[in-house]
């Protein structure tokens, strides 16, 4: 509250004077994230290409409503839940352990769990990959054509989204494989577009 009030006063004084907000705004700008995000991935959102940055400190775990049942927590007792944890999704900061190493160890200990690296999306949200891709097939394809094509890719249909013609969710493993599969299919030219079935951080208001 206090910090915000200071920031507001600085901004207000800027508008009142009508000139040079510079110092006020510059000094109150937030600091860059403490961990530099250097590894990026591309994905396709319809016609648009987007970038996400791998967060090396965080891992996502899905379908673990109780913390004491968490495979990540069993593997790393000092792991702490991070902002964005909600419902059946837990975002963990492992504390000194890199996400890559953490995911590897957790998968070895509990191979049936659903885990993903965590990404920052260029806005302020985290994203993760619980598995699955969303594919926009050409509208003139029949259901049997879609089934056959999906099988030819070694994939299976999870469900059809009733938000337009021939938009399907296909099953993949969680993690980076979902992103890579979506990109491969998107670039294949066989379909209109393909994207990962992202988990995206949101809040109630």
């Amino acid at each position: 509250m206090f910090l915000k009030s200071i920031g507001l006063l600085l901004l207000l004084s800027t508008f009142v004077s009508g000139v040079h907000a510079d110092d006020a705004l510059s000094k109150s700008k937030g600091k860059k994230a403490s961990t530099p995000l250097t590894v990026s991935y591309r994905w396709y959102d319809g016609d648009s290409e987007h970038t996400v940055w791998l967060n090396p400190d965080l891992v996502a775990e899905f379908s673990t409503p109780k913390v004491d049942k968490s495979a990540v927590k069993r593997a790393y007792p000092n792991a702490v839940p991070e902002r964005g944890s909600r419902g059946l999704t837990r975002i963990w900061r492992l504390g000194g352990i890199g996400a890559s190493e953490g995911l590897q160890k957790t998968r070895m200990m509990s191979p049936d769990g659903m885990y993903s690296p965590v990404f920052n999306d260029g806005g302020t949200r985290k994203r993760a990959l619980p598995g699955g891709i969303i594919v926009y097939f050409k509208p003139d394809w029949t259901a049997s054509q879609i089934s056959a094509w999906t099988a030819s890719q070694g994939l299976s249909i999870m469900n059809k989204l009733e938000i337009g013609l021939n938009i399907y969710v296909l099953k993949t493993a969680p993690g980076l494989v979902a992103l890579e599969t979506a990109n491969r299919i998107h670039k294949s030219g066989d379909v209109i577009s393909a994207q990962p079935n992202w988990w995206v951080e949101v809040s109630t208001r």
């Binding site: 509250m1 302020t124 969303i134």
Partner: protein, 506 residues
């Protein structure tokens, strides 16, 4: 004076006819009937009681609560639940209660808790049907999209009291799949009349504990043309400090404001939820209810409930008709706020309040099927992209402007405007961006602000702003986008911009 007295007598007589007196906490629901409880301003409410007295209470209208869950067995919600029509994204059942439905249960009660049952509270549309979808339990792109269109033929209103994190100052775009779902709901939902999507405008205003001031236009869902961004005022009719400003705001409704008076609504049954232990909290002894709900989360279902009343009064309204009725019937609150202007369509509009506070009785009267004629077909006109490629002076005041001359659009009455702005500026929080219409109405799209973690660029260098402020104006003529960099240090170029108008011929 004489007329006023007659009006008062009339109201007094009518008040005796509704039966929410049997809902023991109704007297505390100042957002429905503000009698000055706890020092609030009399009449600062959504004016539903006269509508109820005309026997319009939302019957036949279905509201989907898209949230963390909905406790469909709650004593004051269950009478309105449409059995078998909810959905749980975790287990695939029709019970959306989920692991912690505290938020959705409070939301659902504001919209449509049952009246006149001797229990708790009343919702704004106390006889509307309720269904719950809980995609927030596992918020994937597919679940999010599905929740926007599930049972689209039967859902009239989709209530969304959630969104990207607030208090970050950052720019969070919506995904194409979500927009596809919304567009589908608008065109095919409710048997072609369109689902009405209500969306919490955001709590990132300069409220307690917030670090970075958000504007609702930085949220790619709340600023999408297919949703109604709902803001919040307190029981004094003044903007709740957390409620985000924005050119995209449509209407506000009451929620907790500077008076500190929360909203009374349903809470999870028993010791769970927002009222786990009333001993020292000042909350109700009956833990199935709470008086602490707040935010644009609470303002949004209040709008949803009053919209249900309008749709019961006139089920033939399209989603576009409904938006115009809301704007036209809204009440100019906080009348001395200097941001109020009258736009070229004759609408009072304000960056803090949109078109004002929603007024259920006025909206229902306006929607009367004997007098309201549905508006004509939608026309869309997209301008070419204007290339600018001009550096933005980094001196805190010198403007860089670009004008697009719109001609032959065919849009005589604008319903919404989208503005795509492209820049390589690394810290867009430095920028003050305004759009000036041919009529002279100004939409402030971007305000100087700070961002969390210092991340304040536009995703991919592009952003789609929107403005509701030109409702009813004509599209043809010169539109000017003006950009100022109000902070030294970071610099960038105003690369290009483009506009798309949505509206009708006349």
């Amino acid at each position: 004076m004489g007329s006023a007295n007659i009006a008062n007598i009339t109201v007094s007589c009518v008040l005796n006819t509704f039966t929410t007196g049997s809902d023991p906490l109704f007297a505390n629901q100042w957002h429905l009937k503000n009698t000055g409880q706890d020092g609030g301003t009399v009449g600062e409410d959504v004016n539903v009681v006269p509508v109820w007295n005309s026997n319009i209470m939302g019957a036949g209208v279905r509201i989907a609560i898209v949230d963390d869950g909905l406790e469909i067995a709650h004593e004051d919600i269950s009478p309105n639940v449409v059995l078998g029509q909810s959905y749980n994204y975790v287990n695939g059942t029709t019970n959306p209660t989920g692991s912690d439905p505290s938020h959705g249960t409070a939301v659902g009660g504001v919209a449509a808790a049952r009246d006149s049952n001797g229990l708790g509270v009343a919702g704004a549309a106390p006889r509307a049907g309720l269904v719950g979808y809980n995609p927030l339990e596992i918020h994937t792109s597919a679940n999010e999209a599905d929740a926007m269109t599930r049972n689209a033929a039967a859902v009239s209103i989709s209530n969304n009291s959630w969104g990207a994190n607030d208090d970050t100052g950052g720019y969070n775009a919506s995904d194409a799949t979500w927009r596809t779902a919304i567009n589908t709901g608008l065109t095919t939902g409710r048997n072609g009349k369109g689902i009405v999507y209500t969306w919490a405008a955001g709590n990132g205003g300069e409220g307690a504990g917030s670090l970075h001031v958000d504007n609702s236009n930085y949220d790619g869902q709340a600023n999408y043309r297919g949703v109604l961004a709902i803001c919040a005022v307190g029981d004094d009719g003044v903007r709740a400090s957390y409620s985000e400003r924005g050119a995209n705001l449509w209407v506000c409704t009451p929620s907790e404001g500077r008076g500190g008076h929360g909203i009374t609504t349903t809470d999870r049954t028993g010791t769970a939820g927002y009222n786990p232990d009333p001993t020292n909290s000042g909350d109700y002894s009956n833990r199935n209810y709470t008086n602490t709900f707040s935010g644009t989360s609470s303002a949004t279902p209040l709008a949803s409930g009053m919209i249900a009343l309008v749709l019961e009064a006139n089920p033939n309204l399209t989603w576009r008709d409904l938006r115009i009725i809301l704007a036209q019937s809204a009440r100019k609150n906080d009348p001395f706020d200097p941001d109020w202007v009258v736009n070229g369509g004759g609408f009072n509009v304000n960056h803090n309040y949109g078109f004002g506070v929603a007024n259920a009785n006025a909206a229902v009267e306006l929607a009367n099927p004997n007098t309201w004629m549905n508006i004509g077909p939608e026309i869309t006109f997209a301008t070419p992209t204007a290339t600018v490629n001009t550096p933005i002076p980094d001196d805190g005041g010198t403007a860089t402007s670009s004008t697009i001359a719109v001609a032959g659009s065919g849009v005589g009455k604008i319903e919404s405007v989208e503005i795509v702005f492209n820049t390589n500026h690394p810290y867009v929080g430095d920028l003050d961006i305004t759009l000036t219409a041919p009529f002279g109405t100004v939409s402030r799209l971007n305000e100087p602000h700070t961002c969390g973690d210092g991340e304040c660029s536009l995703p991919g260098g592009t952003w789609r702003y929107s403005s509701a402020r030109h409702l009813g104006e004509a599209a043809n003529g010169p539109w000017t986008l003006t950009v100022k960099d109000m902070a030294t240090g970071d610099t960038g170029t105003f690369t290009s911009w483009q506009m798309t108008f949505y509206g009708r011929a006349n």
